[in-house]
């Protein structure tokens, strides 16, 4: 992923900044310019909102055939997490045996390296998830 493309999403990837609809109160991640439920009523009322980072595994998979930027990382676990605020996030589950991962497992976001652009390129960071304490 190009540097600018990565850089402009640092607030979301580092600090889980999403948006909250000022009309209905629903929380979205990544940030939305408009609420898909309230639509017109939400324009100008979408506020920045920092997610707590805690949630529950809704479903998960173990990836054995990785994309190019994850080569050498396989096998690894990817899950769809229902965040406590109600929105869903996709991310890797780390620091956990695959056998322990299950639907309904409580997780919390952590800050990790996602990929490196070769040995001299930029290192890209973002959120992953681990079992909640």
């Amino acid at each position: 992923m190009g540097i600018a493309r990565y850089w402009r999403e640092i607030p979301q990837r580092y600090n889980l900044i999403g948006t909250k609809c000022g009309s209905c109160g629903r929380v979205y991640f990544p940030p939305k310019a408009i609420c898909p439920v309230c639509r017109r009523k939400s324009i100008g009322k979408m506020e920045e909102y920092k997610l707590k980072g805690t949630g529950t595994v809704e479903t998960y998979t173990i990836i054995y055939t990785p994309p190019p930027h994850f080569e050498g990382e396989e096998p690894y676990a990817i899950a769809l997490i229902k965040m406590d605020e109600g929105c869903y996030l996709m991310g890797e589950i780390v620091d956990c045996d695959f056998e322990d991962i299950h639907i309904g497992m409580k997780v919390e976001a952590c800050f990790r390296r996602i990929e490196e652009d070769g040995t001299r390129g930029a290192i890209q960071y973002g959120y992953k998830f681990k079992k909640a304490e």
Binding site: E9, I78, E92
Partner: protein, 388 residues
């Protein structure tokens, strides 16, 4: 809006066609559809071609002009448009052509779809396919395309008790059907054990739960029902042509046991056709992964939600079953040249409706449905055809 008919179709062989270029495939499919329809180039008012990512697979964009040229239509300067909705590009090309004819803007339109996927290495092809998902919020974090469907499969298994054997039954059935399709990429039978023993790609999906990477093209000619009578006595009417969208990312949705875009497109299609799911005799559904066929036959209303796996296991979707699904072999065995798939499904419906499906011909083929999905359900396109 006026009634629209399909008067001809054609497909290339599907497979790893190293000796053929994208242009060769487009020309071959287009010419065979024109020959089948019995029309001449001067009869054609416009062209729509579906392609997901020729730009990344072979470094070629501007598919509309390319398709017009290789089909021998460039001197006629007809409007030619490329449409894209990932793996639903073909279905969307037909929907676009349908709207143009139904509106009265054009009389006769050629639609097509093509993808040349094996000029790049397998890993690169997989990476290109991941662009059908959300690059920033799914692919970046390590999700692959099979991974997204694996998430849906795990959810379905957890909620409804769907088993790996039931998923495998879909692949076994589709390979059986494909073994009788001379155009199919894989014409060999497989067993449940073959599927369960194949390499794990994204748990719970094995390699043989996944459709392959394929080169191929397909084409069809459509015109108004009135005008179709000038060309043929065998009128195949497009009873419905419907499209629906959804969030491109799975995380943007609120249910994971279905593809809501399929449910919505189906609702619209049945309403337009004035029929119920039980009126459909057979269907080609988008089985890019085995779980996708199980969700599709539920979302399309053929089986209750949660009972798709059981239906596959009990043979209800086999050639001689209650409702034959993917008589062509589906994406799984016939192959999945992403842009071509939606039109290739239509070609199979035509063969069945005309009674020309040879060894895989089903007994009652009067109303058929084609279901084409883009990405993990960001787009769904449904067509219902009837022999009148």
């Amino acid at each position: 809006m006026r009634d629209v008919a399909i008067i001809g179709s054609g497909v290339t062989k599907f497979g790893e066609l190293w000796e053929k270029s994208l242009a060769d495939l487009v020309a071959e499919a287009g010419i065979s559809a024109i020959m089948d329809a019995g029309i001449d180039g001067t009869d054609i008012d416009a062209m729509y071609i579906g392609g997901m990512s020729a730009g990344r697979f072979v470094g070629q964009e501007h598919l509309g002009a390319l398709a017009a040229e290789v089909s021998g239509l460039s001197e006629l300067h007809i409007p030619s448009t490329r449409v894209e909705a990932a793996c639903a590009s073909g279905g969307l090309a037909l929907h676009s052509g349908y709207l143009a004819v139904a509106s009265g803007m054009y009389d006769t339109v050629i639609v097509g779809g093509a993808e040349k996927m094996t000029d790049v290495a397998g890993k690169e092809a997989t990476n290109i396919l991941a662009s059908a998902a959300d690059r920033e919020w799914e692919a970046f974090f390590g999700a692959t395309f099979p991974g997204l469907y694996a998430l849906l499969a795990r959810y379905h298994m957890h909620k409804y008790g769907t088993t790996p054997e039931q998923l495998a039954a879909v692949a076994v059935k589709n390979h059986h059907n494909g073994s009788m399709n001379p155009k199919a990429q894989y014409r060999r039978e497989i067993t449940i054990e073959d599927v369960l023993n194949s390499t794990m790609v994204a748990d719970p999906l094995h390699l043989l739960d996944c459709s392959p990477i394929t080169d191929g093209a397909a084409s069809a000619v459509i015109t108004s029902v009135e005008k179709a009578k000038e060309y043929t006595d065998e009128i195949i009417k497009i009873k419905a042509s419907a499209q629906a969208s959804d969030s491109i990312s799975l995380a943007g949705r609120s249910r994971f046991d279905a593809l809501p875009a399929t449910i919505e497109a189906a609702k619209r299609a049945y309403k337009q056709a004035g029929i119920e799911p039980s009126d459909i005799d057979f269907a080609e559904v988008h089985d890019c992964f085995t779980i996708a066929e199980i969700m599709a036959i539920e979302d399309l209303g053929f089986f209750k939600k949660g009972e798709g796996g059981k239906a596959a296991e009990e043979g209800l979707t086999a050639l001689d079953g209650e409702i034959p699904i993917n008589t062509s072999g589906g994406l799984k065995s016939k192959g999945h040249p992403v842009g071509a798939t939606g039109i290739a499904q239509i070609h199979e419906l035509l063969l069945q409706l005309r009674g020309k499906a040879d060894k895989r011909q089903i007994e009652k083929a009067e109303i058929g449905l084609a279901h084409n999905v883009g990405g993990s359900g960001g787009t769904a396109v449904i067509h219902i055809l009837e022999a009148i």
